[in-house]
Amino acid sequence: MMDSREERLAAAAARMAELRVKFLERTTGEIETLRASVARLDEDAGALTAIRDLAHRACGTGATLGFEGISECAARIEALCERQPPGSRAEIAAVIEEMAQELARQREN
């Protein structure tokens, strides 16, 4: 017997709540990766791309899951990486720290 739409909605809502928690945990872990990549910006040509790719994913998934503040920070990091010339190490690092604070706020909610 097929589940009713209400049952599917309830199951989807429950799974979305789990995904939100998982996103916060994973993205918090990625802050360390971002910090490490920023530290290597001057000597690692791939570091900027790594930062951009992580930020792009956090931006899209964060917004889809309703974390607008995190998504906005991630969008700014991505834009700094794509700017010509790219943002400075200090500029990128500053927004990463903003994102870390926003993540901490969301985890407390």
Binding site: R5, R8, L19, D53, A63, T64
Partner: protein, 143 residues
């Protein structure tokens, strides 16, 4: 009379046959987005949604599963969405499958590129999981 209209393309004919779930393949390298899309598109019970993380595996999946529609992310590592659709259009087994792109970055150049690949539509990211099913179906039926 079986209600079939010879002027309708084969993919639309399949859509209108209501004795089976329509099969949709979603392609995205982000596993969370794949799961959210699968949840969203499965809500009304009319779609059989399968997913792939992209690349050659996605093309193999298309040949094996024969989806009625492919929805795919644009920005993916290795083979991006447009490159994947170019491969589909060159393959007689896949060329007929309608395609919808999903992208966070839209520009006039990108839109022209998608039209050249005969995409039936583009859905912006981020998307509202509760609205996604309606958006996909509206593009599919209009395409």
């Amino acid at each position: 009379m079986d209600g079939r209209d010879a002027t309708r393309p084969a993919w639309l004919e399949r859509l209108l046959q209501r004795d089976a779930l329509k099969k949709l393949l979603y392609v995205d390298d982000d596993p969370d987005i794949r799961e959210i899309v699968q949840l969203s598109l499965s809500l009304d019970g009319t779609l059989d949604v399968i997913t792939s993380d992209g690349g050659e595996g996605a093309l193999r999946e298309m040949k094996e599963q024969k989806p009625d529609l492919v929805v795919l992310d644009v920005m993916m590592p290795g083979m991006d969405g447009p490159a994947m659709v170019k491969r589909m259009r060159l393959d007689p087994a896949l060329a007929h499958i309608p395609v919808i792109f999903m992208t966070a970055k839209s520009s006039a150049e990108e839109a022209a590129r998608f039209r050249e690949l005969s995409a039936i539509g583009v859905i912006a990211k981020p998307f509202d999981p509760m609205q996604l099913s309606g958006q996909v179906k509206a593009l599919w039926e209009a395409g």
